[in-house]
Amino acid sequence: MNAMNEKSAEQMDSAMDPILTSVLINRMDGIVREMSNTLMRAARSTVINSARDFSCSIVTADNQLFCSAEGLPVHIFGGHIQTQSMCDLHPDLKEGDAFLHNDPYMGNTHPADHTILVPVFFEGEHIFTVCAKAHQADIGNSVPTTYFAGATDVYHEGALIFPCVRVERDYETIDDFVRMCRSRIRVPDQWYGDFLASLGSARIGERRIKEMCAKYGKKVIKEFIVNWLDYSERRMVEELRSMPKSRLINSTSHDPFMGVVDEGIPVNITIDIDPESATMEVDLRDNIDSVDSGLNTSEACAISAVLCGIFNCMKSGIPANDGAFRRVKFLMRENCAIGNPTFPHSCSVATTNVADRLVNVAQSAFAQLGKGHGLAQGGIGMGMSCAVVSGRDFRRNNAPHVSQLFSGASGGAASASTDGWLNFSVSVSGGLMYQDSVELVEIKVPMLVKSLKYLPGSAAAGEYRGAPGTELVYGPVGNPMTAAIVCDGQEFPPQGVLGGHASEGARTFKILEDGTEVRLPNMVQEELKEGEWLRGQDNSGAGYGDPLDRDPERVRHDVVEKWETLARAKDIYGVAFTGNVDDESLAVDLPGTEQLRTRLRADRVASMS
């Protein structure tokens, strides 16, 4: 360990100016923030402007991911593969170009993520590429959803694919491509607005980087690139050296999708941590072959998701860029559903479902290192709170509408020191996504939300508990409405670690006109008439540690605040109280709690023998 420290101190002396580097990275982060702000505010579709399902990043001219401040975790990796394809396919690259890239077989996440790439030139030299990636509300699929789990292959999926296609030359938009999109994408004005927002974002990034280069000069910027990536690597080295040498083997499974993957999709991972060489090796080869479904995970998504799980378990502040990633090696297998599917298999749903499982299988694996390490599972399943709804709007001359909802969320996983984060939503988003305003949704979509809340006792227990998922009821107004739902965690809910409980699982029901409830499958495309409703319960995050070790004060607070029921507080957490909830006099009965917990522990031992 000392040897490395000395070496890094040495490197630092000779190469990195710790003050200038600090100044320049602050500038770079500022540029990415400005790009992000532009994209989000100017965008048209809720998936971008409400759910923040987009990210901006800066890649070096030699295609190393450099900077991705506050991007969605599932987007952190792969920008550099996309810019590589830009360089390979377009030797005539020049200033004023912009490219549209949404090909998952060339480094993109999934086809719904339209990525705008703009090469940035300074003094005639290509020095960076800026990337603005945003999830579109529609991409011309054969059905009105951008998460098409039933797609048997890319032809069935039907997305318009742009394998790094030039869309601007000399800062002028090439209208051919706009016509192509307009004649195929549902609600084309919405798409066009989002395209303009992404383009504006990339052009702002370009402008700012040029200003920065003009100010500091090419030489300083080039040294900065090397220094910053080396710095990021050093941070990763330090983190890896602090871990025990270990092999973590873990598995989970995505829910079945009947008729396509009846058994579900098992997700297996082996992580080898070697503090001596300060490296980590992630083996994803022990997974099934490509499936005839949109559930295959592209290379970019699989790596991003696992990195997200790993970063969730590390000290915060390690820059997510190619410098840090140098220390993590991925082993993938040809024709594997996870990480390396073969064409023409569809990756329509690559950014969420299986990817969420990858985040979880990685982060919960670290709990094998013992208390204080890793996380429980959580943030699984885009239930009906995240459905893509479509139909015709009676208020707008029956014009077609299509939108993704973000009206509720699955709960976040518990960690070794905190309860799960409410509003967490899917793990690949890292909790960054916004939530819809019910009123705004009802303006945008002809529907009525009947309720949106958390039910008491719906959070998985633990020393630290998971966050509950939302319970939601909505239905169409006027015309019928189709809801496309690609949920997960109904069959295989998120699992706790070190004694923490599992979630009870997500559920979706259709409420018929006569009031009867019918349970719907995990993944479903359901048409609703006015008078019919959907009711869904999102997954809670799972717990970390034994509920009997939970601080009784936390349990009391949960009961007072109606996160927990009195019955569960007693039976699961073993906490006894005096006073009552209604007059705010509830207090922990400490001796009673001690007794109760001793008895519950004894009961456990008895039931095991």
Partner: protein
Amino acid sequence: MKYSISVDTGGTFTDVVIVDEVGAVTIGKSLTTHDRVYKGINNALDSAAEELGISKAELLKATETFIYGTTHAINSIVTGKTAKTAFLTTEGFPDILVRKEGGKFNPHDFSEEYPEPYIPRSRTFEIQGRITSEGEVMEGMNTGAVEELLLRLKQQGYEAIAVCLLWSVANPEHELILGEMIENIMPGTPYTLSHKLVSAVREYRRASAAAIDASLKPLMQSHLREMEENLRDAGYTGDLLVSTSSGGCCDIAYAVERPIHVVKSGPSMAPVAARAVSLLEGLGDNVIVADTGGTTFDAGLVRDGEIKFSRESWLGKQWTGHIMGVPSVDMRSLGAGGGSIAWIDSGGLLCIGPQSAGSYPGPVCYGNGGKEPTVTDAAVVLGYLDPEYFLGGRLSLDVDGARAAIKVLADQMGLSVEDTAFGIIRVANEAMISAIHDITISEGLNPAESTLVAGGGAAGINIAPIAKELGCERVVLPKTAGALSAYGMQFADIVAEETRNCITNSDSFSFDAVNKALRDIEAELLGFRESHQGKSNDDYTIQYFVEARYAHQVWELEIPLPVGKFESDDHVQELVSIFHKAHERVYAVSDETSIIECLNWKGRLVIKLDKQTTTAAAVTETPVAVTPDAVRKAYFGRQTPEDTSIYKGVNLQPGTKVVGPAIIEEPTTTIVVYPGMSASTSSSSNYILEVIQ
């Protein structure tokens, strides 16, 4: 002689600014007395009166306007001393205040607890009845159940009630019924109806505003009434106004009705002061204001004479704090200041903050036991601060301690102590430069075209290099930099805003509905004007705005209306064209083919207060040379220290020009004039820095 008095009771100090009828300024300062705020004000008034050579009674007698800025509301929120408040909301949606609008910082950080809602879930009650987006009553209210609930709340000793029902902006019927029932069943209990406070869609913003407002009512009523009584008892008979979050002021009756508007009472006045100073110095009406204290840095913006507002002002952090919902002056706050700690991370990078030594123990040089080097320690090492004249000599600084603390970092980086200290200042500047970048560039405004006005005790150390980096050619450090907010109140007008929700599109513009909304707004504002009796009410303006967006967008831009009444398609076209231009400016793109959706209509009433003459300063005469009071060595990032002229501010006559490297020492701030820069004193005794030669 006639006077106008403004008071800003901050967390630590109470500042009093007195301006006489020819514009002469007197400042009084004292420690804030949190138990009884008037005591601190009284002390500050005493000290200011003494300086004026009159008695306090004479001063108050000769005063026509008294403006009060207060941190009482925000302090009560931070310390959890607000009223026991019930939150009444639509059945099925009890978690509006819990869920907020989602979002967080740091996706990989799992050590932060999810924030508690402003009003606990246990004090949240669901009310049967549902109104649709079209304003139709889909399900009526169950008044029997409401009656039962209110009786229970009464019995349980609730002190205030916040009401936010879905779509109350489309049809306020149910909220109004609740209001009536509260008055009948719990007479005298303060309550807030969301649609009356914020007439805009987005239920969380209305709910949060209503919750904050209601919870403040009981205590702000007694606080403001008590203040009024104390002042009247002391013999004051003039107008008493309270400064508001929107950079204006209002009378006590209005503040008591809507106390949420006084939450950012003090900070909102910094841009008002900055605008006045810039205009006074003839430096234009595009202004950036930067207020640097010991622990925070606040930046705000004035564009074409208009102070930048935001509806997205949060108590606490964005997303995880509580949104204010009401428009307030957009001051971005950064946890950076003289007390920010410098450290080297495990990768060898020099970092500043976010940890702060605060005011106690404070920087190492204070000698109160601080161990970690701070920005102030760096300034001491560099020779910028006179160890014997800090805070006018009230505190002597431990230079050796500061050096030793910075040497630890210097050794790690293999740099000299001075280079390290200079690096600390440079990195600290970065965060502030970013904050100013974020508020200007994201609004399509080039900071180089603005005047930078700096206030706060720590401003003078680094404002010059920050201005240079931003390309600002005009930088002003007002003489009143140490009491910027109180000074700003001297220029504040009476401001009130009203909004109405009326959704319409540019291609099918609802003339009648929009004009009705605008007329309602006007009537409301004129009523407000009427109620402000006793003030010179004649000089007023009403400006109209709309929050609009392209079809399918969700984030609106606030656009000034070309007309107060829409009479023809031409008027609509004019609005459309203003929108496209604003969108192009802010987002670099516009979409001429898109329909524009208009959501919330707004009117802003400004009643001009004729408090004092603010004649423009005479142009600075030919600079006169001046001999320094001392010379000492200071470092400016070069190999060797430089001989630096030290001036005492009191000795500099208007029209003096000081060439860097130089340091000007004022009792509450120190101005560092870097090599290649210069500073002049204007005829109004403000400092004008020239950072770009």
